[in-house]
C-alpha cells in the first residue's frame, strides 16, 4: 500500500519539522521542500501509467494528438504551479505564492489558445451568414 507509506512519511516529516523549526528555521523549510519532492516523485510514476491510458484512449477515439499534448501540458503546469505556490506559502511569502498561481493560470490560458480559437471558429461556422 503506497498510500500508507506516503501518510507515514508525512507524519514523520511533521514530527521532524516541529523539532527542527525551533532550532533552525531554514533547515525546517528544506525539510518541507524535500518531503514535497519525495511525495511528488512517488505520485508521478503512477501518473505516467494513467497518461498512457489516456493516450491510448485518445488514439482509439481518433482525437487530434495536438489536443492531447496540450491537455497533458496544462495538467503539468497546474501541478508545478501548485507545488511552488504551496511551498512559498509555507515559507510565509503569501504574495509570491499568489503571483505564482497567477503565472500558472496565464500559461494555461496561453496553451489553451489554439483550442479556444478552434471552438470559436466552429461556432462561427454554425452561424448562417445572412
Amino acid at each position: 500500500m503506497e498510500i500508507i507509506q506516503i501518510v507515514i512519511l508525512g507524519l514523520i516529516a511533521s514530527i521532524l519539522y516541529i523539532i527542527l523549526k525551533d532550532v533552525n528555521k531554514a533547515f525546517a523549510f528544506f525539510l518541507i521542500l524535500i518531503t514535497g519532492i519525495i511525495i511528488f516523485l512517488m505520485v508521478i510514476r503512477q501518473i505516467t501509467v494513467i497518461f498512457q491510458l489516456i493516450e491510448s484512449l485518445g488514439e482509439k477515439a481518433n482525437v487530434n494528438g495536438m489536443y492531447m499534448t496540450t491537455i497533458l501540458k496544462i495538467i503539468g503546469i497546474a501541478y508545478i504551479a501548485e507545488l511552488g505556490a504551496n511551498l512559498t506559502k509555507d515559507a510565509g511569502l503569501n504574495s509570491v505564492a499568489t503571483k505564482i498561481e497567477l503565472a500558472g493560470k496565464i500559461f494555461i490560458l496561453l496553451l489553451a489558445i489554439p483550442i479556444i480559437t478552434a471552438v470559436i471558429e466552429a461556432i462561427i461556422s454554425f452561424i448562417p451568414s445572412a
Binding site: L9, I12, V23, F27, F30, I37, I38, I44, G76, I80
Partner: protein
C-alpha cells in the same frame, strides 16, 4: 518501490547537529565560527535538496511536457 525516506532523516540530522555546533561555539564565544558552521551546513543541505529538485523537474518534463 520503496520510498527514499533516509534523505528526510539526513536533513533533520544535519539541521540538529548544526544547531548544536552553533550553540556550543556561541557559548565558547566564537561567534564568527558559529555563523560559518551554520553556513556550511546550510550549503550541504542545499546541495542535497537541489539534486533532488532537479530530479523532480526532469521527471515532470519527461512525463508532462515531452521535451526530454
Amino acid at each position: 518501490m520503496a520510498i527514499d525516506a533516509s534523505i528526510l532523516f539526513q536533513i533533520a540530522g544535519i539541521g540538529i547537529i548544526v544547531a548544536l555546533i552553533h550553540t556550543i561555539l556561541k557559548q565558547m564565544g566564537k561567534e564568527e565560527i558559529a555563523q560559518f558552521a551554520t553556513l556550511v551546513g546550510f550549503i550541504i543541505v542545499m546541495v542535497i535538496v537541489i539534486n533532488e529538485l532537479s530530479d523532480l523537474f526532469q521527471q515532470i518534463k519527461s512525463v508532462f511536457l515531452f521535451q526530454g
